[in-house]
């Protein structure tokens, strides 16, 4: 590892710890709440950064695993009442689902393009099926699925195995931020490991990796499953944050958003998607706040999140295809060499 990489790691760690410790001291509770959801979504962004940026697997349905994690947690905790097992299930169920789906995709050697379409289709299947379960006859144990109304009033996480000690709002912030830091460094370690080198090698040249004796199908499947597990965990945190899940978290808009975070931030580095995620979320929140409902004209256009997000996505694909972080790194690198 070069000195510059090490410096980057130290800076990232210090910045993460500073956010973790200082935010609740200096900011009001509503800011802390907003930041919590940014942290949760950043974990989700990291899951796609791994699968797409490093595994080279363009998954259009990362929100399927996110939603599955959220629903699993909601259904499990309503039935069990204690959060340790639901938390683990919310990671396990999306991982198993991804393993089944991924087996189908990777062992069928389906091309990149069809992979995108299939993952998108699966997301739509989940959205449509959950959406149509509004009636009281759709329930799993004590949990009613609620269809398009969603599941309200999800009980919060508690300390492991201590049912009467729930995690409060500030605790959720600490948990989410700590999760982001742990996931970031965990992924850095994973990518520095033998496994990480192999998946990047497969991304660069699948045929060559195969001829060298690695089975790309197994490695891609493993990457896909790890990504799904992380997305599921983010979903569990999200269900906790709002105490509510609805089918929109499976929706196309949500899937697109995750892709946009990664595109804007940049693939090939983990810090990019985190910054992209936080930046875009901040932007959508700011635009939404500026446009009161019923506003006309210019405010209505700017306050219209899909319109702005769509324009951003088109602009980045056409003009900044590598994303912000790598492009900025290239520019500063060039300038330093030029000196």
């Amino acid at each position: 590892m070069s000195g510059r990489d090490l410096l980057g790691l130290v800076v990232a760690g210090a910045a993460g710890l500073a956010v973790l410790i200082l935010t609740p001291i200096y900011f009001e509770l509503d800011t802390v709440l907003n930041l919590t959801v940014y942290m949760i979504m950043a974990v989700l962004a990291l899951s796609l950064a791994l699968v797409w940026g490093f595994g080279g697997i363009l998954c259009f349905g990362q929100s399927a695993f996110f939603g599955l994690g959220a629903y699993t947690y909601a259904i499990a905790i309503i039935n069990m009442g204690e959060s340790t097992a639901p938390l683990l299930l919310s990671i396990l169920v999306p991982a198993l689902f991804a393993a089944a789906l991924g087996y189908f995709i990777f062992y069928g050697r389906i091309s990149d393009v069809y992979l995108g379409v299939i993952t998108l289709t699966v997301t739509l299947i989940l959205f449509n099926s959950i959406n149509s379960t509004a009636g009281p006859e759709f329930h799993i144990g004590a949990a009613r699925l609620g269809g398009f109304n969603g599941i309200p009033g999800i009980p919060p996480l508690n300390w492991p195995l201590q049912k009467d000690k729930p995690v409060d709002l500030q605790g959720m912030f600490y948990l989410s931020t700590a999760s982001l830091i742990v996931v970031y460094f965990g992924l850095r370690a994973l990518l520095a490991s033998r496994f990480g080198h192999i998946i990047v090698g497969i991304r660069e040249n699948e045929r060559r990796a195969e001829l060298l004796g690695y089975d790309p199908r197994a490695y891609k499947l493993a990457t896909f499953v790890i990504g799904a597990a992380l997305a599921g965990y983010a979903g569990c945190l999200f269900a906790n944050w709002g105490a509510f899940v609805s089918p929109t978290i499976f929706g196309l808009a949500q899937s697109a958003q995750i892709i946009i975070w990664v595109i804007v931030g940049g693939r090939g580095a983990l810090i990019g998607p985190i910054l992209g995620c936080i930046g875009i979320q901040w932007l959508t929140a700011a635009l939404g706040a500026n446009a009161p409902t019923g506003a006309g004209g210019f405010a209505a256009v700017l306050g219209n999140a899909p319109l702005v997000l769509g324009a951003i996505l088109i602009a980045f694909v056409l003009l900044v295809p590598k994303g912000l972080a790598p492009t900025l790194a290239d520019l500063t690198g060039q300038r330093m060499r030029a000196r």
Binding site: D112, V117, S129, I259
Partner: protein, 288 residues
Amino acid sequence: MDLAALLGVQVLYAIASLALISLGLAIIFGMMKVINLAHGEFLMLGGYAAIEANRFGLNIWIAILVVAPIVVGAIGVVVERTIIRWLYGRIIDTMLATWGLSLFLVGLTTAIFGNTTVGLSAPLGSFEIGRYRMSAYTLFVIAVAVAALAGVLAALRYTRAGLIARGTMQNGAMAAALGVNPGRVYAVTFGVGAAITGLAGAVLAPVSGVFPSIGGAYVAKSFITVIGGGAAIVTGTTSASILFGAINQLATYATTPVFGEVALLGAAVVLIRVLPQGITGRFFRRSL
């Protein structure tokens, strides 16, 4: 007996509407290898074009059959010239850019028309099958689908423009050497695909109504039809529509519309696993 006839017409209708919404996409994907994720929004725009034209007093048939294809075709040409043409050969980037376009168009139409469903009352009244009544518009949709498929097949096979288009798609440099302007062919092909999509959106508007995010309901179905069909545009679309349309409608009849769609999508995933090149990758290989 009456019930069987009714179900038969419904299955035909499901097949026809599937073929109709997929044909434009099949042209754009099959000929240009461009995955247009804004396809659903082109359908939506076709619906709005017809409804708005009708609201301004235009005859409903002209609004559906003439105005909608022209408007959406023109939008298609603009999109090709501004976005798609920079991305040929970068298939993943095309998907991402058109997804951006899809969000953009949803946002734009929401800002203009509002997030409500608008409709167009279906003309033609109804007819009877024994004890059941059915909208005659259903038959019109089936007729339009057949006409569109036949028209595209004839244009590709028997006209000079179709020959030039096919030649350019096969080998752009060769066609350019023979005096064809490939950029123009791409733009026109994309425009034709968009125009047929606009027509489909307008034809279906009286059945389903139109709202800004209606594209999401169509896009997955049309994609899997095109992918399930494989490389041949007309034969592929037709065969995949027959398979998926029948599965969808029969499953809908047996359970609910939602599980009909789930059955359709599930069947598609299995089909792609078994025949990764689509139906025409294995059967009818020399067809168009």
